[in-house]
């Protein structure tokens, strides 16, 4: 196969996610009464970025054929931490950001240790660790409150040169600084290999433990960035069960829409970003069509169900029925 065709096959999931997002966004913008203004784009970008960060975290773990049901709670925990530490002069603020990111990284590393060295199934291990993270968040912020350095917060949720949303620049920076080096390193390849076939990867001497550990730890870090961004967005912290649950569940939906296979080894974090934006846009479509907000959850659910059912078309191309079963 030629190089570009191979690349196309490899990136199919991501490209489909980009296409879904563009289609949804065009429908959204063309029906929005304000049209395509910098303000509309910025609001959409900020809302999408929150979910995109959590979905990126989820994608890293899903690529290793795991699942992280604690991303939402790490997101909430780091939000609570950030509402305490990000204040004061620029130096103190920078230290605060570092602390928040460190907390996220630590949570991810704990998940990694329990799953890899404790040899537990990720789904149940992260249910347990998620409960612990949420408990700590509850100790920190039983009631909504806290402050944040508003200059930094406004800069991060505002626009650069009045046009480009700062949140999108941050996402691009994370992709360039975290995802690209990771996916091209031996450790990143090992994470993919562990997701495709752990036994085969182990036999080939791939450092699967290091790869999986890095994926879990980085997932915690990205969820931490998400929590940080939520604090910039709301100026406060809150240990909310509903946002922890919602973000965990939405992150799985975004990852699937983004073309990352839940069986592992396929897809990319970039796809997850577009999956998250597409999912958010679907939710917002209700508002531009001026329908009752009550119908939004049902609409979102039906679209999600339709989108995942659509993947079943691939079944028709399977030549050997055995491939239906794993």
């Amino acid at each position: 196969m030629k190089d570009w065709r191979y690349w196309l096959a490899e990136q199919r999931g991501t490209l489909v996610a980009v296409a879904i997002f563009i289609a949804m966004f065009i429908i959204y913008i063309s029906n929005h009464q304000a049209g395509l203004t910098a303000n509309v784009v910025n609001t959409a970008a900020n809302k999408g970025t929150l979910l995109a960060l959590v979905a990126m975290a989820q994608a890293l773990v899903v690529i290793t054929s795991g699942i992280d049901l604690s991303v939402g709670t790490i997101f909430v925990l780091t939000n609570c931490v950030a509402s305490y530490v990000i204040t004061g002069n620029p130096f103190e603020t920078a230290a605060g950001v570092a602390i928040v990111l460190l907390v996220g990284l630590l949570c991810g590393a704990i998940n990694g240790l329990v799953v890899i060295y404790g040899r537990l199934q990720p789904i149940v291990a992260t249910i347990g660790s998620g409960a612990v993270f949420f408990g700590i968040a509850l100790i920190l912020r039983p009631l909504p409150g806290g402050t944040v350095n508003e200059t930094l917060a406004d800069a991060m949720t505002g626009r650069i040169f009045g046009v480009v949303p700062a949140s999108l620049v941050m996402l691009a920076a994370i992709v360039a600084l975290v995802w690209v080096p990771f996916s091209r390193s031996a450790v990143g390849r090992a994470a993919y290999a562990a997701g495709s076939s752990e036994a085969a990867a182990y036999m080939s001497g791939v450092p699967i433990r290091r790869g999986k550990f890095a994926a879990y730890a980085l997932a915690g870090l990205l969820a931490g960035v998400g929590g940080l961004f939520l604090t910039f967005f709301t100026y406060s912290g809150q240990a909310s069960t509903s946002s922890a649950n919602t973000y965990t569940l939405f992150s799985i939906a975004a990852v699937v829409l983004g073309g990352v296979s839940l069986y592992g080894g396929k897809g990319s974090v970039v796809g997850a970003i577009f999956g998250a934006f597409a999912f958010r846009t679907i939710g917002d479509l209700m508002f531009v069509f001026d329908l009752d907000a009550l119908w939004q959850p049902l609409f979102q659910g039906v679209i999600l169900l339709a989108a995942v059912s659509f993947g079943a078309v691939g079944l028709l191309r399977v030549r050997n029925r055995l491939e239906w079963f794993r």
């Binding site: 404790g118 199934q121 149940v124 660790s129 509850l138 169900l305 059912s309």
Partner: protein
């Protein structure tokens, strides 16, 4: 001790001990340990009244976990539990508003709604081959959407029927709450299905290897679909009972049952990968989780501490006996 000596020693143990799954035994040992810790705190913990009350509270989780176990045995998972529980409760209460016929059919109608959602899950997972995690997530969102549209976003106003209240709170046999009897019936049926029917054996077979089961001529897709439908029906039935217990349905009433149901099944020694596990273990897991929650609330532990201890106990217990084999 040599192997033969070990065998002779094992041979002298009672039959039920020899056959006991170490996971189930550990879970029961932890229950006893929890009761002992509780009794140090207050002597009430060993009283019959307290234990029966706990069993009654556990029966709601028990019925929901029964359906969850069936699905986990297949190597799948059902994340649609929260809103199917809510749907069962709300629809049963809603039917009660439609005259005597509605009142009479309230319970079957609630269960039927759950069955329908379960069927959607089953068709998606078995025939469309959508990974169960995302298929059930989507139906959960649909069920939530339907209920929000139905109630208009407010707390539902309908109340539970007398039959639902009787089933959840009365005691047909003096001293034994009806809810416990219902759980016993559901559990008995589950044990029968798992151990004595072709369907039950097929569930274990599919959990071990769906390919092998398919090649052996089992109708794997039909079995998977029925299991998901049963899980939906049981979750809705749990919701119906919960509505009877609280006299009415509430928004998001099922949220508190998803993770405990999964945790109960897994703590009871059922492999999350499917194919392995006994119903006795699930019973132990359900009682363990209920007792843990009860003891923590009696000790007036704040919610934060409860969450932390809850999480640590789940991970610690799994590290004790739920680990995957080391050799690869």
């Amino acid at each position: 001790m040599s192997d033969t000596a070990m065998e002779r020693f094992a041979g002298r143990m009672p039959r039920f001990l020899r056959r006991a799954d170490p996971a189930v035994a550990t879970a029961f040992a932890c229950i006893v340990l929890l009761l002992l810790i509780g009794s140090l705190y207050s002597s009430n913990f060993l009283s019959l009244d307290y234990l029966l009350l706990q069993l009654k509270v556990a029966s709601f989780l028990g019925i929901i976990a029964t359906g969850m176990m069936l699905v986990i045995l297949l190597g799948q998972i059902d994340l649609s539990v929260p809103w199917v529980v809510g749907m069962g409760a709300m629809m049963a209460c809603a039917a009660a508003a439609y005259g005597p016929l509605g009142t009479a059919l309230a319970i079957p109608f609630g269960v039927l709604c759950g069955l329908a959602m379960g069927l959607v899950n089953g068709v998606g997972v078995a025939y469309l081959r959508i990974p169960s995690m995302i298929a059930t997530l989507a139906t959960n969102a649909v069920a939530q959407g339907l209920m929000i549209v139905y109630t208009g976003g407010f707390a539902p106003r309908d109340t539970a029927t007398d039959a639902m209240r009787w089933l959840a709170t009365a005691a047909l046999v003096p001293g034994v709450p009806n809810a416990v009897l219902v759980w016993a019936l559901v559990g008995g049926a589950m044990v029968f299905v798992l151990r004595r029917t072709a369907f039950g054996r097929a569930v274990y077979g599919i959990g071990n290897s769906e390919r092998a089961a398919y090649l052996s001529g089992l109708p794997t897709r039909r079995v998977t679909m029925i299991a998901f439908a049963a899980s939906g029906a049981l979750a809705a039935f749990g919701g119906v009972l919960l509505a009877g217990y609280a006299s009415k349905a509430a928004q998001a009433m099922g949220d508190a049952y998803l993770l405990p149901a999964i945790a109960a099944v897994v703590l009871g020694g059922t492999s999350i990968l499917g194919g392995r596990g006994t119903y006795l273990g699930t019973v132990a897991g359900v009682i363990l989780i209920t007792l843990l929650q009860s003891i923590l609330s009696v000790m007036q532990m704040p919610e934060a501490g409860r969450q932390i201890i809850y999480g640590v106990v789940i991970v610690a217990m799994l590290l004790l006996y739920g680990r995957a084999p080391a050799s690869r």
